[in-house]
Amino acid sequence: EIEERLESLICRVGEKSTSSLESNLEGLAGVLEADLPNYKSKILRILCTVARLLPEKLTVYTTLVGLLNARNYNFGGEFVEAMIRQLKECLKANMYNEAVYLVRFLSDLVNCHVIAAPSMVAMFENFVSVTQEEDVPQVRCDWYVFAFLSSLPWVGKELYEKKDAEMDRILSQTESYLKRRQKIHVPMLQVWSADKPHPQEEYLDCLWAQIQKLKKDRWQERHILRPYLAFDSILCEALQHNLPPFTPPPHTEDSVYPMPRVIFRMFDYTDDPEGPVMPGSHSVERFVIEENLHCIIKSHWKERKTCAAQLLSYPGNNKIPLNYHIVEVVFAELFQLPVPPHIEVMYTTLLIELCKLQPGSLPQVLAQATEMLYMRLDTMNTTCIDRFMNWFSHHLSNFQFRWSWEDWSDCLTHDLDKPKPKFVREVLEKCMRLSYHQRIIDIVPATFSVLSPANPSCIYKYGDESNKSLPGYTVALCLTIAIKNKTSNDEIFGILKDVPNPNQDDDDGVVPGTLFHEVFKTLAESDEGKLHVLRVVYEVWKNHPQMIAVLVDKMIRTQIVDCAAVANWIFSPELAHDFTRFYIWEILHSTIRKMNKHVVKIQKELEETKARLARQHKRRDSDDDDDDDDRSSDREDGPLEEQIERLQEKVESAQSEQKNLFLVIFQRFIMILTEHLVRCETGGIDVITPWYKNCIERLQQIFLQHHQIIQQYMLTLENLLFTAELDHHILAVFQQFCALQA
């Protein structure tokens, strides 16, 4: 198939080859030029797509387009038009990340003599004038400024040479915008709250500093590979096109712009004294390297071997400490707030692949990074500590848990609730979950026993000794609950007589032999009953947090308890002792996720049923008017319309339950934090205790992790819960959250 062949040729150019990149590009340009008469639209489409999806090979493809334009001026013009159309579509579809790549591509086409510099400057003028728009979200202006600034490493020199006065004007307009924009959101997005050793800068501030430095260096940029330089004599003969005037599409209610970011930095040139010098944090090289590495991960995350290989073959290997850049970029994604771009476990497996490919160097960098992260735990955001802990324990489980634990014996001198010993405890607990208790006792020095997890077993206080008969447990549990709920004697005898029937049918996901479903359900009909069930589960399984999580999950799915009950239970005094333990928050977030998935599922059902009805109407309309039309169409529509009504109700009820869940959670947070603040103030003690830091960051985590859903409740939250009377510590979290999409 010709299209496949063309696609393959185009996609593969730039990869490792026996011939030079230049000769490959020249050859490919020749092939494509010959195919233009017959396959022009396919070639246009493929080239537009690689511009959007392969940004790490930007300059390879702009060179290719440059060569084609030199051979066929009309084609160059059509390509530019197609790119502009694609850019507009991306912006309308809220695909802002990809739109940046398109803008960058267009700007690099100036270097390839495809687009005239003045018209590019004009486009950037229009971009930055968005900052003058009134009543638009800051994040909208942010994007246009970012698109402009982030193209300058590629094209700054050329644009400045041709139109320095205009560029100075645009840059000064940018500067004044950056000075006046608000940055309330920054603390919420920082991985570390400390500025040492590396400040965690807001992304636009960092980029601005990098561009300033680039300008001071007279726009000399030496890192980017520019294949078009080799073709200068051909390309400068080509006729250039002018970009049509570009008006940024207006802001609409449906526009959703990217959230601000904080730039993650953990290394600098002092961390690898023997190797090549790492570009400084405000150098444009640093920006370009990081952008490209992120793009590679985005392109290949599903294929871990390819991803690792592509990362390690990033050009410039001997001039930059590539391993350090890679590790920093991977951790940047893993720790990114609100959420990582990809599923967390991908990063663990990617790092393992990288270690396999570079066994002599990468593991050492990783160990160094781990050590650094450990040293800075005191100021690390709680959510990021969770991710660090999850990653580290999973990583160790792939390497026989080998680690120099003694190096961390300093943590034993701290209070157990301080970040470092807490981290080690959680890591050991996670390691145990991936292996078994004795293994963990064996791998740590004896001095660490105070941090070792409890032997996970059931606390069976209700009668006979044996741990083996699981059905016996459930009866005992039922009895306990029954007794606590003062159920009548008749009912208790009924329970005693019945033998729990391990249910093999898994339609509702009931685990065989673990739950005596019906009995629990009856007993848990009231809110008090639900709380009792949860409390008993906790009492019996508190040495086995994993079991608690599994049981709570099952109880929600079998509707023995509802999500709000779990939320209330987590904030109840009985759980205060475990309140800062990771497994509690694992349970809460899992509960919220289940609620969210439930709402989405029913919404989808509703959409699908509506679509079915629409199709039914369409089919009827397209058929010729037949005999008994009206009655039969009513009959046909009836059941579907009923279904839609029912589903509509179901959706509303689910959405209301979801909103209630969040309100309960926020309310409980406010209560528990206010209690702490009041106690501290009256007692004259410092508010910032390890418990407080943990709690307030857990509140932040709720906002960040579920921000899309919570956005719907802003008015209620503002008017009901996060009002001006609230303590400013708590209110600040809400205000930072509001600032994220402002």
Binding site: C48, R85, P258, E303, V600
Partner: protein, 196 residues
């Protein structure tokens, strides 16, 4: 997703993709945003393997269809001592686990080194194929593969002596899987009997 976080629309509102021909000149670019590159679509870890369960009730076609839509994974090369809890912990990293069925020796009814892991969604199972397959559990590289779906009876080993077939013929000594393969073990006992 990308560098900037999650630029997704509010629930219920989908991004307006400008699709079919807006009538603009020089079109043929309709649906350009839906264009992908087959090279980039590579997802080799999620491909169906060559294994087909000989006991599957139904045609090859049906079996392959089941495999293509399945959310159940077969997990192999487990240690006999690996517990359901360990499997739960590891596979939960890819999503909520619906259930785990431990593979059992048909005679002894003890774990014999494999299991089935079922997720609620295929997407979660795909993550496991991409990121758990080929990594370690209990220090052993485990292997995951698509399964057509658990049916009663499939939790038992199909080797003559009750365990998995591969443990019948194995010649190496594997401490996590009962030592030598069964046939070798029997040969050793026979050999000893002959000597006396």
């Amino acid at each position: 997703m990308g560098l900037f976080g999650l630029p997704s629309p509010f629930p219920g509102r989908r991004p307006a993709l400008v699709l079919e021909g807006s009538g603009e000149p020089g079109a043929g670019m309709s649906g350009v945003l839906s264009a992908t590159l087959s090279g980039l679509n590579s997802d080799s870890y999620c491909e169906i393997s060559l294994y087909r369960d000989q006991h599957f009730r139904g045609s090859r076609y049906l079996q392959e269809k089941a495999l293509k839509f399945s959310s159940t994974l077969y997990v192999g090369n487990l240690s006999f001592y690996t517990t359901e809890e360990q499997i739960q912990e590891l596979f939960s990293k890819c999503g909520d686990v619906k259930r785990i069925v431990m593979g059992l020796d048909k005679v002894k009814k003890t774990p014999c080194g494999f299991c089935f892991v079922e997720y609620y969604t295929r997407a979660d199972a795909e993550h496991a194929m991409r990121f758990i397959n080929g990594t370690r559990l209990d220090d052993r590289i485990i292997r995951t593969d698509w399964d057509a779906g658990f049916k009663e009876g499939r939790q038992f080993g199909r080797g003559k002596t009750g365990g998995q077939v591969r443990d019948e013929y194995r010649t190496d000594y594997d401490v996590g899987r009962g030592g030598f393969g069964k046939i070798i073990q029997m040969q050793k006992t026979n050999h000893q009997t002959i000597i006396y």
